[in-house]
């Protein structure tokens, strides 16, 4: 092997080692964030491979085995219809993530567009947009979501809409504050002086510079959306049976079987807590990593 080839391989190894070292370094600096990321990754893998890792059909009744406690065949026991709780939790992760990511992405992206546009155009547009944002933000998140789902009716699609709507102003407000400072930077003036269109300036020069708060909000929203979905399903206004959803499972268990079969509600409750905890830890760590002020500290 010639010397240049050896040099290339050494560089690659060095690069790889440095990536592992960087990740390890990040984990050491952000142990809670790493734990959160691990939870999120496990959840995503379980959701993606639900039909591979689960031994049972999440919706199929098996009445002969109704309300069995945790055992070798059903590690988390069965519910009142004999359905395997572990299987329903794994499939429930799919529901939670699908709703969580969709609502969070739509909410954060909607907020990004609104926030940047509001900051860039300023004047009367900014005034009107921000007053609307004020009005929407005056309602607590859960109340807003309940109002929307009560109007549209229950169901997965409506739950996504119900969660997305209150997210938009939250993200818009944060993004606008970042975008306002970027608007004053000379290169934006320079771009305008060169005759670039508003769309190009917003998309090429402003949006990339507000990606950090956008990503932080996005991550935080996923956890919130999972919790909101669980709340709405628990209240009977979200996902409908027999679709596996954690809030719905918690409701069914807590309603009737808390005393005689506590596992029916304990495990879905744990799943909700763990998922929200994971996303919150991951979101906090992401904020620390992306925030230049905190990074310097």
């Amino acid at each position: 092997m010639s010397t240049p080839e050896i040099a290339v391989i050494t560089d690659e190894l060095e690069e790889k080692r440095s990536l592992v070292a960087k990740t390890w370094d990040l984990c050491r600096r952000q142990p809670l964030g790493a734990a959160g990321a691990l939870i999120v990754i496990v959840m995503m893998v379980a959701a993606a491979l639900a039909n591979v890792v689960s031994a049972y059909d999440p919706e199929l009744n098996d009445l002969e085995h109704m309300l069995e406690g945790p055992n070798a065949w059903h590690w988390m026991g069965t519910d009142e219809f004999g359905r395997d709780i572990l299987t329903r939790i794994i499939y429930g992760a799919r529901t939670a993530l699908a709703i969580g990511f969709t609502a969070a992405f739509l909410g954060a992206t909607g907020g990004l567009v609104l926030g940047v546009a509001s900051a860039y155009f300023g004047g009367i547009i900014d005034l009107i947009v921000q007053r609307i944002v004020d009005v929407v933000m005056a309602f607590p998140l859960i109340i807003m979501a309940l109002v929307v789902v009560a109007t549209l009716g229950p169901g997965t699609e409506n739950v996504i809409i119900a969660i997305t709507i209150p997210f938009i102003p939250q993200c818009a407000r944060v993004v606008r504050s970042s975008a306002l400072s970027i608007r004053e930077i000379p290169y934006v003036d320079a771009a305008r002086a060169l005759g670039f269109s508003n769309g190009r300036i917003i998309l090429r020069h402003m949006v990339p510079n507000v990606m950090a708060p956008y990503l932080i909000m996005l991550t935080a929203f996923v956890g919130q959306a999972i919790l909101l979905e669980a709340v709405l399903s628990y209240l009977g206004m979200g996902v409908q049976d027999p679709t596996p959803a954690w809030g719905l499972m918690l409701k069914g268990g807590a309603e009737e079987f808390l005393e005689s079969a506590p596992w029916v509600s304990i495990f879905p409750g744990l799943a909700i807590s763990l998922a929200v905890f994971g996303f919150n830890l991951f979101g906090d760590a992401l904020r620390d990593v992306l925030d230049p002020k905190l990074r310097r500290m």
Binding site: L63, M66, Q240, D241
Partner: protein
Amino acid sequence: MKCFNPRIAIAMVIGFALGLGAVASVSAAKAQKGGILQFVVAGESPSKDGHRETTYATIHPYAPMYSVLIRVNPDDPQSSDFVCDLCKGKVPKPTEGDTKYTFKLVKGVKFHDGTPLTAHDVVATYKKIIFPPQGIPSARKAFFKMVESVTAPDNHTVVFKLKFPSGAFLPALATPYNWIYAKKDLDEHGYNWHRDNVNGSGPFMFVQHQPGALVEGKRNPNYHHKGQPYLDGFKALVAKKMSVRIQAIRGNRAAIEFRGFPPKARDDLVNALGDKLKVQESDWNCSLLATPNHKRKPFDDARVRRALTLAVNRWEGSKYLSKIAIVKTVGGAVFPGHPLAATKEELTQLAGYGTDIEKARKEARQLLVQAGVSNLTIDYNNRDVDQPYKVVGTWLIDQWKQVGLNVKQTVRPTPQFYANLRKSHENDVSIDFNCQSVVNPIADVSKFLCSAGNNYSQCEDPELEAIYDKLLRAASEKEQRSLMRQYEKRALDEQAIMGVTLWWYKINPHRAYVKGWKIAPSHYLNQQLDNVWLDQSMM
């Protein structure tokens, strides 16, 4: 002379003591006056009008505010013994070849607004129920097919003239929804006024309705049954979640729930409260139905509707669902156990009642193929009440999946559920129920008639109407039984107009201090609360 026997003496002392105890218990059982009865109701009434509604959520809070002409004996509601409420003396015997009933009314009865109650009010009420104008719903209109006219020859006499003799007339008359409204209210305010307003002559007067929270009534001092009611008032607390209702009784925030709890809830309450709790149980004249929308394709095809009923394993459902829900008995259209009900052998001849479920499901799949149905997703309307709607609903979805049908369930709060079921019909199949009060199979099965006010399937079947017409006129029980089998075969099998899932089973655990209330085979019966009292010593 015989010696004094100490055993006899001890026995006499014990006997005397027991006798004293019995006397004491009799005197303790004397109804006490006072107190407010707080009870929980699982649903919110769609309106305050008993004539149009079919739900306990209307009966429980509002029946105590109204009087009826006759009713099931409140002291023995399990019997088919009818007694007068507004009529005087005993329930009259029919005359003129059993086609005329003449009721004499109690004098001096007043509505809560002070208006005297006369025979003209009774006539106006029954005209609204039996011959409602176009657009005015009357859920039990079909019960009175035999009635030709209702008249008031004087202020205190009401005459019902029948087209033909019918044993179904008196039970229909004793239906607890037949609240007597003031003619003045109907004339002045119209037939929709009672949807939002209350003016009855019952034991309790309307105080307030806080939507979603409570309905309150207070004692009517001018109630026509002397000495009653015993309670000062009642509060019907709306609590949609069963866990809340159970905890309300457990924590003594409410004394009773009149509808019924599932076995698990009963067991939890018994374990927690011991002798502070009393449990009453009964068979329930209530069946849970799956009602297809006959105006929607492919449910306009009887083969598809038959497939729906064939897919359901009722016998297995009965065995297991009775452990977690307020359902138990497998039955056809008639209250199980009644002489007119199908025997098990007769039932197994109907589609969906066979004991070989694999054979039935194979037939169901074949029928779907014949009807050209594949990858069908059923839009299924359910009610946001746990017991038994959502439990049985989840089970039904699984049953239908076994024959390749997909189901998208939409659970709606009670008012929206009814609006969908009755008016908008925005579903393929809806959960439905045939909950009747007085056990009166000939009237009860009228639900399956396409002309019935409470049949929401949008079906059309003149042949079933013809069978029912014969059934109404059948004189002997043998003939009634034979016609009932034809009726069931037509309604549940050949046309599968609706599918009966399981019959309900009533379990009422309540605080032991609630006295006077006796369980009936229906959660609609015996709800005027005029004979209910609270044992202050046990509170």
